[in-house]
Symmetry: C2
Subunit: 345 residues, 2 copies
């Protein structure tokens, strides 16, 4: 493995000084890029794209060939783990993710196994190895997984659900012991999966807690944060970790207390507030409102400057959007965003 | 108007001592009640129910006849104001609210008038007068309106939208001056509407900021909170006011700083944290996760006690859910919740 030619991103995660704020973009390899849509069409469907290392590598690198970004992120999906557990994932555009065999009865939990990262999930590790080789040290590679609570939510709801999470919340309130058993298996799976990604070469790891923000404060700690903390602890200090709970703006201190390297902030958070609250405990990643990319370029430039200003001087900021980029964005607007971050405040 | 026989709710809003924590339930007059569904069927559709004072009065009183609640809330909808402005509201079950003439061009703003609360909106004031007479002082009556930002979002999106608020956010970032002009007219309409509700007899006023939580922190202050603050100031001290921003948990201090009587908290907020942060500036309303009402009764009882405990001793708590009750809830579970709040910690 080559030494990294650009380590701004890793330095920022360690709160070390950098020449300028590093940036990457959540879902930077995605449908807003015509070259992505072309590869996706060749693949036939999204899941084949994820499961074919050559193609996953190709789309991972596409945004880096277009924009001078400071990190690559593995092209994959958070639902690879439940898919490998045998729940039968389908990912159709317009419908969203669906499992053919969701978890409906506690008895099903005993039949779930921890997937072998170099077995059922080998396609992910092969993609990591291939991407690392192709990157040849240009920028660090980020690996990732869904948070145990978010994965369990999908597994119980059988899909994205109506964002009310009726079934998953039934488990929270009426079957908490069953839910903890499910979360324990999912957590062990996530730990083995992320360790294998690390062994395959990723330089940093991010946990996406997409649905943690739907929980009441106490339930968030018990059913989501607690398991993310176990993951951070299991991964130890050898690889930087980023925890991102969408809608978790009022829990930033507790997230930082897990010992993660950085807290991902959605666009509703004020980075100035977040920094005051978290202090020097860890770095911050975020958090431009993705909707701003639809505005004229001078507005994008103004809002990038406002985001950099909100964080202020000093180390520990990784610039990003506050959520994934949407398919309708003009790539020229992304180029303008990247240039604005490069110019700095 | 009779003197109130039960003023717990108003005393709590003023942070005065009470014999027990008062409670009411957001959407307490709603589809979970068979008697509501019967009246609704007689009315034919939701909008007719809102616009017929006799029927609006009937459903407002139904939950009070069933449960010993400490406040009634006017049965109406936040979209009465844009409807009265001529946007053509339809409210079909399953589809949600839709406007036949949404605001798509800034030129439309100049043609919007402030509705006359005793003209186009007289049916609301007639309902308030009728409900006050029928209540005969049993409990206080809460009037309400949507926040200017939330109403403007519906007016621009033409309905509930996809919760991405693409059009409304375009206005935030690319046409902020137009949006401020629209918000100014909507704010004036809300102020006149709430003043008229007060004149017609309501005892407290609540502003529902359903979509404020979708905004970035700076945009929330500029486009939502700023206008709610104008409303609180315009209403003055003669009537207690409650501001509720769903997803606004990290902005509670700023909401309290408007001078409102109480901050409504959604279920993601820890009331203990909220109280530490807000101190004695105002009262708090909330915040049981509505999903808990689907759990077995002992769980409901435990979680009610946890919510009361989280607020702790001392005045200034109005018990409520953290969001509206959903149509699938068993009324017996609501009875259990009410009894548990009455028992206290």
């Amino acid at each position: 493995m080559s030494a990294l030619k650009n380590d701004r991103f890793l330095r920022a995660l360690h709160r070390q000084p950098v020449d300028r704020t590093p940036l990457w973009i959540m879902r930077q390899a995605g449908r807003y890029l015509p070259e992505y849509r072309a590869t996706r069409q060749r693949a036939g469907d999204f899941l084949t794209l994820c499961k074919t290392p050559d193609l996953a590598c190709e789309v991972t690198l596409q945004p880096l060939d277009r924009f001078p970004l400071d990190a690559a992120i593995l092209f994959s999906d958070i639902l690879t783990i439940p898919d490998a557990m045998g729940l039968g994932l389908t990912l159709d555009e317009g419908v969203g993710p669906r499992f053919t065999s969701p978890i409906r009865e506690p008895a099903q939990i005993a039949r779930l196994g921890v997937p072998d990262p170099e077995g059922e999930l080998r396609y992910v590790m092969d993609a990591v190895r291939l991407i690392k080789r192709e990157l040849d040290g240009r920028v660090p590679l980020i690996g990732f997984a869904g948070s145990p609570w978010t994965l369990a939510t999908y597994m119980i709801e059988g899909g994205g659900g109506d964002h009310d999470f009726k079934r998953a919340k039934q488990w929270v309130y009426a079957q908490p012991d069953d839910l903890h058993r499910l979360l324990a298996i999912v957590t062990e799976s996530v730990i083995q999966y992320l360790r294998a990604q690390r062994a395959a070469g990723v330089d940093a790891l991010m946990v996406f807690d997409t649905w943690g923000g739907a929980l009441a404060a106490d339930a968030y700690r018990a059913f989501s944060l607690n398991y993310m903390a176990q993951i951070v602890e299991a991964l130890g200090d050898e690889v930087p970790t980023i925890l991102f709970t969408k809608g978790g703006g009022h829990w930033l201190e507790a997230i930082a207390d897990t010992g993660c390297s950085a807290v991902g902030c959605d666009w509703t958070v004020s980075l100035a507030d977040a920094r005051r609250r978290i202090g020097s405990r860890c770095a911050l990643q975020g958090n431009l409102d993705p909707a701003i990319l639809r505005a004229p370029i001078p507005v994008i430039e103004r809002e990038v400057a406002a985001t950099l200003n909100a964080f202020g001087a000093g180390p520990g900021h990784v610039f990003n959007l506050g959520h994934g980029i949407t398919p309708d964005i003009n790539p020229d607007h992304v180029a303008a965003l990247v240039a604005a971050v490069h110019r700095g405040i």
